[in-house]
């Protein structure tokens, strides 16, 4: 099937399918510039673009602009990504390279936590954070990322580390490196591509993690972009053009990161070898 005809039909299919997938997003761009009356129309572009949708949407809450909400979200992300990447690397090295008692046991516990519905732990966690006086702060959102960054990421990194030849460790050991030295000088630099994958996913998933944000943040001045958008939706008279404009802006950070790091998404997972 590697004939020209086969390639052409592949291209046709993929192009058509890409368009189908992206169509709602393309429509979204036009809709963010439409008047309310024009929103339902299947036209892609408005007769007169309402650029003020962006201006009014940006200032909609009166007290704060979206710049404030973006700032809050990025601050939270800074903590999440730092915590996730650093601790996931440490834990993955422990599981992937070091032999210690009950390693197999703890590793299967780790894998089992991937299958645990978050709803089971959320009520006691909320009670705990409430008792510590951390509700309505970023601590409950950020702190969990400092405990290994999540089972899925640890698993990915362990698989990645197992693919690194052990000869490198042995050579370093002969040169007098300790387990800590091997981690710092051999493993950590070599797993950087996989860590980029972890960083990107952490960023995007915590940006989208509406459940945790809605649960723990209640003062408007601490709101993330997602919560600000929700204020929009809960208004009696939704200004759809403005809402769609701000929603579109809210996905920009993830979109930009994704476009720049696109190849890591597939390669990062592919090289880790997600085999049974």
């Amino acid at each position: 099937m590697s004939t020209i005809r086969g390639k052409l039909s592949s291209h046709l299919f993929l192009a058509a399918f890409s368009l189908l997938m992206l169509y709602p997003v393309i429509w979204w761009v036009g809709a963010s510039l439409k008047k309310t009356a024009e929103l339902g129309l299947p036209t892609l572009w408005p007769s007169t673009p309402m650029w003020e949708n962006y201006d009014k949407g940006w200032h909609f809450s009166g007290d704060y602009t979206f710049a404030h909400f973006f700032g809050n979200t990025l601050l939270m992300e800074l903590g999440n990504v730092t915590g996730g990447v650093l601790t996931a690397a440490l834990v993955a090295y422990g599981f992937g390279r070091l032999n210690f008692k009950l390693r197999g046991f703890w590793f299967s516990i780790l894998l089992m936590t991937m299958m645990l519905p978050g709803q089971v732990t959320v009520v006691p966690q909320y009670i705990l954070f409430n008792k510590l006086g951390w509700v309505d702060s970023y601590v409950p959102l950020v702190l969990p990322h400092f405990f290994g960054g999540g089972a899925f990421f640890i698993f990915l990194l362990v698989q990645f580390i197992r693919g690194i030849p052990r000869d490198l460790d042995e050579a370093a050991k002969i040169d007098g490196a300790s387990v800590y030295g091997i981690f710092l000088r051999i493993i950590f630099p070599l797993i950087k591509p996989a860590l980029v994958t972890v960083a990107i996913f952490t960023f995007i998933w915590s940006w989208d993690d509406f459940f945790a944000q809605v649960l723990y943040l209640s003062s408007v001045n601490k709101f993330t972009v997602g919560l600000a958008l929700r204020m929009f939706i809960d208004q009696f008279d939704i200004q759809w053009g403005q809402l769609l404009a701000m929603s579109l802006l809210s996905i920009l950070p993830s979109a930009i990161i994704f476009l720049f790091a696109q190849k890591y998404f597939v390669e990062g997972i592919a090289t880790t070898g997600l085999k049974g």
Binding site: K7, S10, H11, L14, A15, F17, S18, L22, P24, V25, W27, W28, A31, G40, L41, P42, T87, L90, V91, G94, L98, F100, W106, I109, L110, M114, M115, L116, P117, Q119, V120, V122, V123, P124, Q125, Y126, F147, V179, W207, D208, F210, F211, L215, G226, L229, I233, L244, S247, L248, I251, S254, A255, F258, K263, V266, I269, A270, L274, K275, G276
Partner: protein, 305 residues
């Protein structure tokens, strides 16, 4: 004489080092997973509103849930319908697309980006807002249908179509599942296909005899995580439909959330969480049992025939 001693010492050292490295996860697991699970189990036998100490009520919560709570039955039914339709649909779509995207042709990066994009913005509230507008009574979808002379309905305000609309949104975001399939496809040795070609096997035969068996561990992984993920669908139900109309999209996760954080019935919500845990555990166990019959592992010494 010295060697065994040194060996023992270094063993003790790696034990300590091992635990030092996994300490972040281990501490987090004990504090934020194990302890909350135990706590949640205890609370499920109490009445607790956060303001006063929990009051032990025995199995009252469970009895009430199973005998008096029609919302429980309803939301469980809604969630099961959602899982039953959306998980297979998503698996099928993402596998087909992954196969299409696994070929090496020029411009593949562009296609992959385009097709992954909707999943990237996945669970976000932005996309829920978009969906709510597009599927509104005089939203975009109905206008397009009107072109073809079809009278649209209020997709999210009609109880017959509201759940379907959420399933459609969920399926549109098949990207993560697809990426994992794509990674799995890349691991299949090309020699298998080549030798099958020599034996005169066609594309369909190769798909059923090589691709599917070799991909079965990845399929299993996606199936298990897909079921667990679908049981927890929350944002779209909260933002797009608010569980309505007449509870037709009142997903279990939304029900639990409202019991806990809107009505502050922490004990009742904990019981709901434990029921969810048991359901997911049983389904996962059944999956693992069934997997013996259809999941193929290379390391078992099996043959990809």
């Amino acid at each position: 004489m010295e060697a065994p001693l040194r060996k023992r010492k270094s063993k003790g050292e790696t034990n300590a080092a091992g635990y030092l490295f996994i300490a972040p996860w281990l501490i987090g697991f004990l504090l934020l997973t194990l302890w909350p699970i135990a706590q949640s189990f205890y609370l499920s036998f109490t009445e607790y509103s956060l303001l006063e100490a929990p009051v032990w009520t025995g199995t009252d919560n469970y009895v009430n849930i199973f005998t008096n709570d029609s919302t429980f039955t309803k939301s469980l039914g809604v969630t099961f319908s959602f899982v039953l339709v959306s998980v297979p649909l998503k698996l099928f779509f993402s596998l087909m697309v992954a196969i299409a995207l696994s070929r090496s042709i020029r411009g593949m990066n562009f296609y992959r980006t385009a097709i992954y994009f909707p999943s990237l913005i996945g669970g976000s509230i932005a996309v829920a807002a978009l969906w709510r507008n597009m599927f509104g009574l005089d939203g975009y979808i109905n206008q397009v249908l009107a072109w073809f002379g079809i009278q649209g309905v209020g997709w999210i305000t009609n109880p017959d179509t509201s759940l379907g609309t959420l399933i459609l949104l969920n399926t549109w975001q098949f990207g993560s599942t697809m990426v994992i399939f794509l990674a799995g496809l890349k691991q299949i040795p090309q020699e298998l296909y080549e030798s099958a070609s020599v034996d005169g096997a066609g594309r369909i035969r190769k798909f059923f005899r090589i691709t599917l068996p070799m991909l079965s561990p990845v399929m299993f992984f996606n199936l298990v995580l897909g079921i667990i993920g679908s049981f927890q669908t929350f944002t779209s139900a909260l933002i797009i439909t608010k569980g309505g109309p007449i509870n037709s999209t009142y997903m279990y996760a939304l029900f639990l959330y409202e019991k806990a954080f809107k009505h502050y019935q922490m004990g009742y919500a904990s019981a709901l969480a434990w029921i969810l845990l048991v359901i997911v555990a049983v389904l996962t166990a059944l999956n693992f049992l069934a997997s013996r019959y259809w999941v193929f592992y290379e390391s078992d010494g099996g043959k990809a025939k």
